[in-house]
Point group: C2
Chain length 218, copies 2
């Protein structure tokens, strides 16, 4: 499969184009909904709730963290019992709404990475997105340290150069260059790219099966 | 199965509660996305794109029409070739965005019900929602007349007292009282209701299978 690995610049340009009124025409809330759903669905394919019922989602301060909140909500509907560690919350309507949706489903928010990992079967790392750069700050230094040490299977939305390798990766829209050599389970999500955008960016996306919002790459 | 059939008033109250900042916390764009996805997925369960590739969506002037636009988009990704009859379009950002998403996927918009039905294998009726009341006006009088005459299978989001009975119905959130005696295929969609709302409204919802966003009622 000759799938394209996107540079960070191309991935950012595609995100902009998806939301351009004369481009994809999406609003952010739609894309985060479909992205979070993709992640939750991909998790069900590899970590069934019979064996991994207790999931902790580590949500970072940016959009990747919001994907994590949406994933937690869908996981609840799918039969999992998630909890969320979300220490840096922007006070914006979208963030508040996505948090409220989780609270409405009785998903607890925990105060420390340790409280998140305790009595959990699976970790979702939604700390940083592909566009993260710069220095990791607290409390995420400690959160990443905790992820490095845990023996639990971990599912990440991205690989960042933060010294932590997850068991499974769910790339969104298209995989990024930084994940080319990743050896774990790899899914693609985000079934919302038009044929014309796929062609323009030479993405060569794989076929999604049935109505699935994710597809296994390896 | 002792599923509850909702009065129009209760259904409207639930819609309000789903979007209340201290209630469900959803924004409209999320709910329309999940609703339209439910409809598209339910269609794949009964009318496979191998046999019914050409779908026409009749979209009405309100929110039900927007569900139709989202369904058309997902149907395209699922392998169908939809077209849309959407004669009364409000010039609002959400409506324009949902239309743009269809145009970006090369979904054609047609000008008459007849042009929609021609060379189609399946019809999606997204003309009126459950809260429609009053007199049907043109061009929807003609559109409904065309639906009454067609031999094609038809999938509706609602039953309205408009003298037209679809082959299949996709109720959203919970079925409404008006559909109690419907004899066709019946699916439920809208897997976003919390346990506390389900209890409060005594909905007694069925279990959705796996990650499906729709469930067959009969």
């Amino acid at each position: 499969m000759n799938i394209k690995y996107l540079s960070q610049r191309a991935a950012q340009a595609i995100d902009v184009e998806l939301m351009a009124p004369g481009g994809g025409g999406f609003v952010f809330e739609q894309l985060v909904e479909l992205a979070g759903f993709s992640v939750a669905q991909a998790i069900t394919k590899e970590y069934h709730h019979d064996k991994y019922p207790r999931v902790v989602v580590f949500s970072g301060p940016g959009n990747n963290g919001l994907d994590g909140l949406v994933a937690a909500r869908h996981l609840t509907h799918f039969g999992y019992r998630p909890k969320i560690y979300y220490p840096k919350r922007a006070d914006k309507p979208t963030n508040n709404g996505l948090m409220r949706q989780c609270t409405e489903l009785d998903i607890p928010f925990v105060d420390t990475p340790e409280a998140g990992l305790q009595d959990s079967d699976l970790v979702v790392d939604a700390i940083f997105g592909f566009s993260f750069s710069g220095e990791v700050r607290q409390p995420f230094v400690s959160a990443i340290e905790a992820l490095k040490k845990t023996q639990l299977p971990t599912v990440s939305g991205n690989l960042n150069n933060i010294g932590f390798e997850p068991s499974m990766l769910v790339s969104l829209t298209a995989p990024k260059e930084g994940v080319k050599h990743f050896k774990g389970l790899h899914y693609l999500g985000g079934r919302f790219v038009s044929k014309s955008m796929e062609k323009k960016w030479d993405l060569n996306l794989p076929q999604y099966p049935g109505t699935d919002q994710c597809v296994k790459l390896c």
